[in-house]
C-alpha cells in the first residue's frame, strides 16, 4: 500500500472516536440529500403525471376562426349552431399526420373531431363534449380501452361511449338510446355501447365516438378539429410545439406547459429549495471535515514533524491529509447512501400502511445517487486542502525541540 495512504488510514483508525463521529455526520447529511432528492423528484414526477399523464402534451388546431374570417375579409360563419366555433377545422390532416408520424419524439398522435353538444335523456338536457377519435389511437393518450367499466371498447354502428359520471348521474346503461343535439342544426339518436371511467372530470362530460361518426355529427366533412399529441419527455413539449408551429404556419400549436405556468413555477421553486437545502448540507459536511482535519493537523504535528525529519516531502505530507478527507468522504458517502435508500424504503412502507399503496411512487435513481455521492467525495477531498496546506508550514525543528 502507498505510504501516504497507509499513514492516513492509521491516523483515522487511531482517532477512532473522532472519525466515527464525523463519519456519522457525513452519513446523515448524505442520507438527507439522497432522501430529499428522491422525494422531490418522485413528487414532481407524480404531480406532472397527474396533470398531463392522460392528456395531450401538444395539440394542433386550425387557425382562429376570427382571424381566418378577418384574413378572408368576409363575414365568416364561425358559429356552429349556438356554439361559437373558436377555431376553424384542420384540412388535409392526413398529410399532417403522416409528417408528424415521422417524428420519433412523439409517442401518440390522435386526430380528434371535437365539439359541444347536449345529450337529451327524457326531460334532462346535459351539456357534453363530443370526442370523435379512433379508439386505438386515443388509447395512446387516454387509455380508454383499459378504462371501460362496462360494455365494449370498440363501438360499431350507432354505438357511442359515455363517461361513468354521466352514466351514474342520469341512470344510463348499456343499450340505452340517447339523443345528441346541436340546437338548430342536428338531432341524432345513438345507442350506448360502453361506459368508461378515466378518473377525471372528463367522466362527467365526455361522449366518445368514432372519428367518422363525429365528423358527420359535427358537420366537419372530412376535416378534424385538432390533432392531439403526447411527447416522450413532457418538458420538451414547449420546444416541440414551437417546432411544429414553425413547420405548420397555417395551424395553431399549443402545449401543456403554456397552460400550466403556475404549476411549473411551483415545481421550479420546489426544485430550487431542494437544491438550496442540499447545497447547505454539502457545505456543512465540508466544514465538518475541514475542522476535524484542522484539529488533526495540530494533534499529529509531532508525527508530521518526525516524518518530515525522516525525509517525507511536503507534497507527501499534504497527501496524507487529502487522503484522510477523501477516505472520510467515501466511507461517509457510502454509509449515507445506504441510509438514504433505507429512508426512501421506510417512506414507501410507512405511507402504504393504511392504503396499501404509497402516498406517491418513488423510484430510486442510482445515477442521481452516484452523482450525489461523487460530489460529496469531491468536496470532502477539497475540505482537506486547507488542513493539508497548514501541514506544509509545520517545521520539524519546532516540533522536535518542544518534545
Amino acid at each position: 500500500m502507498n505510504f501516504e495512504l497507509k499513514v492516513a488510514l492509521r491516523f483515522l483508525k487511531d482517532g477512532r472516536g473522532q472519525t466515527v463521529f464525523i463519519l456519522l455526520g457525513i452519513a446523515v447529511g448524505v442520507a438527507v440529500q439522497v432522501f430529499i432528492n428522491t422525494l422531490i423528484a418522485g413528487l414532481q414526477i407524480d404531480l406532472v403525471n397527474q396533470t398531463v399523464g392522460k392528456s395531450p402534451h401538444v395539440w394542433m388546431v386550425g387557425q382562429s376562426s376570427y382571424e381566418a374570417a378577418l384574413a378572408a375579409n368576409e363575414d365568416a360563419n364561425y358559429f356552429r349552431g349556438n356554439f361559437e366555433a373558436l377555431t376553424s377545422p384542420l384540412k388535409n390532416w392526413e398529410n399532417i399526420e403522416t409528417i408528424l408520424g415521422s417524428r420519433t419524439d412523439l409517442t401518440a398522435i390522435v386526430p380528434v373531431a371535437e365539439g359541444s353538444a347536449f345529450l337529451i335523456r327524457t326531460e334532462e338536457t346535459v351539456p357534453v363534449v363530443i370526442k370523435g377519435m379512433d379508439i386505438a389511437d386515443a388509447d395512446g393518450i387516454y387509455g380508454i380501452s383499459e378504462s371501460i367499466v362496462s360494455g365494449t371498447a370498440s363501438p360499431g354502428g350507432d354505438q357511442i361511449l359515455i363517461g361513468s359520471g354521466i352514466a351514474s348521474d342520469y341512470n344510463l346503461e348499456i343499450g340505452d338510446i340517447v339523443t345528441l343535439t346541436i340546437p338548430g342544426i342536428r338531432n341524432q339518436n345513438y345507442t350506448i355501447g360502453g361506459i368508461f371511467s378515466l378518473g377525471s372530470v372528463t367522466d362527467d362530460t365526455w361522449v366518445v365516438m368514432r372519428l367518422s361518426q363525429a365528423q358527420k355529427f359535427l358537420g366537419l366533412g372530412s376535416d378534424v378539429s385538432k390533432i392531439e399529441m403526447q411527447v416522450a419527455d413532457v418538458y420538451s413539449a414547449e420546444t416541440i410545439g414551437g417546432e411544429l408551429q414553425a413547420r405548420f404556419s397555417g395551424a395553431s400549436v399549443n402545449n401543456w406547459i403554456e397552460n400550466n405556468t403556475s404549476l411549473l413555477a411551483a415545481l421550479n421553486s420546489q426544485s430550487m429549495s431542494s437544491l438550496i437545502i442540499q447545497i447547505f448540507v454539502l457545505f456543512s459536511i465540508t466544514l465538518g471535515i475541514a475542522s476535524v482535519l484542522a484539529v488533526s493537523v495540530v494533534q499529529k504535528s509531532k508525527q508530521i514533524g518526525i516524518l518530515k525529519a525522516m525525509g517525507t516531502k511536503d507534497r507527501q505530507v499534504s497527501r496524507i491529509f487529502l487522503f484522510q478527507g477523501a477516505m472520510m468522504g467515501v466511507l461517509g458517502a457510502l454509509a449515507g447512501g445506504g441510509m438514504g435508500v433505507g429512508m426512501v424504503r421506510m417512506f414507501l412502507w410507512g405511507t402504504s400502511l393504511e392504503t396499501g399503496t404509497p402516498l406517491f411512487p418513488l423510484t430510486i435513481e442510482w445515477v442521481r445517487i452516484v452523482v450525489i455521492l461523487s460530489i460529496v467525495v469531491a468536496s470532502s477531498t477539497l475540505a482537506a486542502v486547507i488542513p493539508a496546506r497548514r501541514s506544509l508550514k509545520l517545521n520539524p525543528v519546532e516540533v522536535i525541540r518542544n518534545g
Partner: protein
C-alpha cells in the same frame, strides 16, 4: 573500523552563523568551523543555550544557517532543493531524538520501516527491508517486541526502536540530540554500547549532542560549545579509543 564513504571528511562546517529573530536578533552560533571525519564518534557538549541543538539541526539539514555552509562529502546543502534535501535526509542521515518520537499509531517494526516507506521501496526490496528491520530490532534487543504498539514499550525500549529506525536506510551519519537525556544510567550504558557497536559494525559516523559526561568521555572526539563558539575540540588518540565491551 569499516568506513562508509570514500571522502575523508564526511561533514565540513564553514563559517556557520545562526541568527534567530528578525526584529530582535539573537546570534546563537558565531562562525563555527570544523570537520567531521568519516566513521568518527563525536560528542557535542555544552550548557543549555550554548547552541548545540541548533548546530545539530543545521548539520542534519533540518535548519539552515544564516551564514556559512555545510558540505557533505563536498556537496553543499544550501544548493539542494527542498525535495532533494528530504531525499538526502532519508538516505544519508539517521535521527535519534531525546523524546524518541516514535509514531504511536504504528507498531515497533512499522516505525522502523517508515523511512523505507517514505522512499518508496517496492516488491522484493520490501521483503528485504522487512528482514533488515527484524535484524535491527534483534540487534537492539527487541526481538520479542517487534509487533508491539510503540506506546506499549518502555522509554528505553522506545529509544532503541528509534535507533533501529535511524539505521534502517543504512545512513552515513547518525545524529542524536540528547539520545539518553531521559534514560536511567543503566539504560544509558546499554545505549552507548549500542552506538559503539553501530559505529564499529557499520562504520557509521556518529554525532551526539549530550549532557552526559559518561557518553562524552567514551566518544572519539568532544566538541565543547560555549555561547555559540567552539571552546574546545579534543580528539582521543586512536589507541585509547574504547572498544565494544
Amino acid at each position: 573500523m569499516a568506513e562508509k564513504t570514500n571522502c575523508k571528511y564526511v561533514l565540513k562546517a564553514e563559517g556557520l552563523v545562526k541568527v534567530y529573530g528578525t526584529t530582535v536578533k539573537t546570534e546563537v552560533l558565531h562562525g563555527l568551523n570544523f570537520s567531521v571525519k568519516s566513521g568518527e564518534f563525536t560528542s557535542i557538549i555544552g550548557y543549555s543555550g550554548s547552541g548545540k541543538s541548533t548546530l545539530l539541526n543545521i548539520l542534519g539539514a533540518l535548519d539552515v544557517p544564516t551564514e556559512g555552509r555545510i558540505l557533505f562529502c563536498g556537496e553543499d546543502y544550501g544548493k539542494m532543493k527542498p525535495d532533494e534535501l528530504a531525499d538526502f535526509r532519508n538516505k544519508n542521515l539517521g535521527f535519534i531524538f531525546q523524546f524518541h518520537h516514535l509514531l504511536p499509531e504504528f507498531t515497533a517494526i512499522e516505525n522502523v520501516l517508515i523511512p523505507t516507506w517514505i522512499s518508496g521501496v517496492s516488491g522484493h526490496q520490501r521483503e528485504k527491508m522487512n528482514r533488515r528491520a527484524e535484524e535491527l530490532l534483534e540487534m537492539v534487543g527487541l526481538k520479542a517486541f517487534i509487533h508491539n504498539k510503540s506506546t506499549d514499550l518502555s522509554g528505553g525500549q522506545q529509544q532503541r526502536v528509534a535507533i533501529a529506525r535511524a539505521l534502517i536506510n543504512d545512513p552515513t551519519i547518525l545524529l542524536g540530540d540528547e539520545p539518553t537525556g531521559n534514560l536511567d544510567t543503566e539504560t544509558t550504558d546499554q545505549i552507548y554500547d549500542l552506538f559503539r557497536k553501530i559505529n564499529q559494525t557499520y562504520g557509521t559516523t556518529l554525532i551526539m549532542v549530550t549532557h552526559n559526561d559518561q557518553i562524552a568521555k567514551r566518544s572519539d572526539r568532544i566538541i565543547e560549545l560555549i555561547d555559540g563558539r567552539i571552546h574546545s575540540d579534543r580528539e582521543k588518540a586512536e589507541e585509547t579509543r574504547a572498544d565494544v565491551g
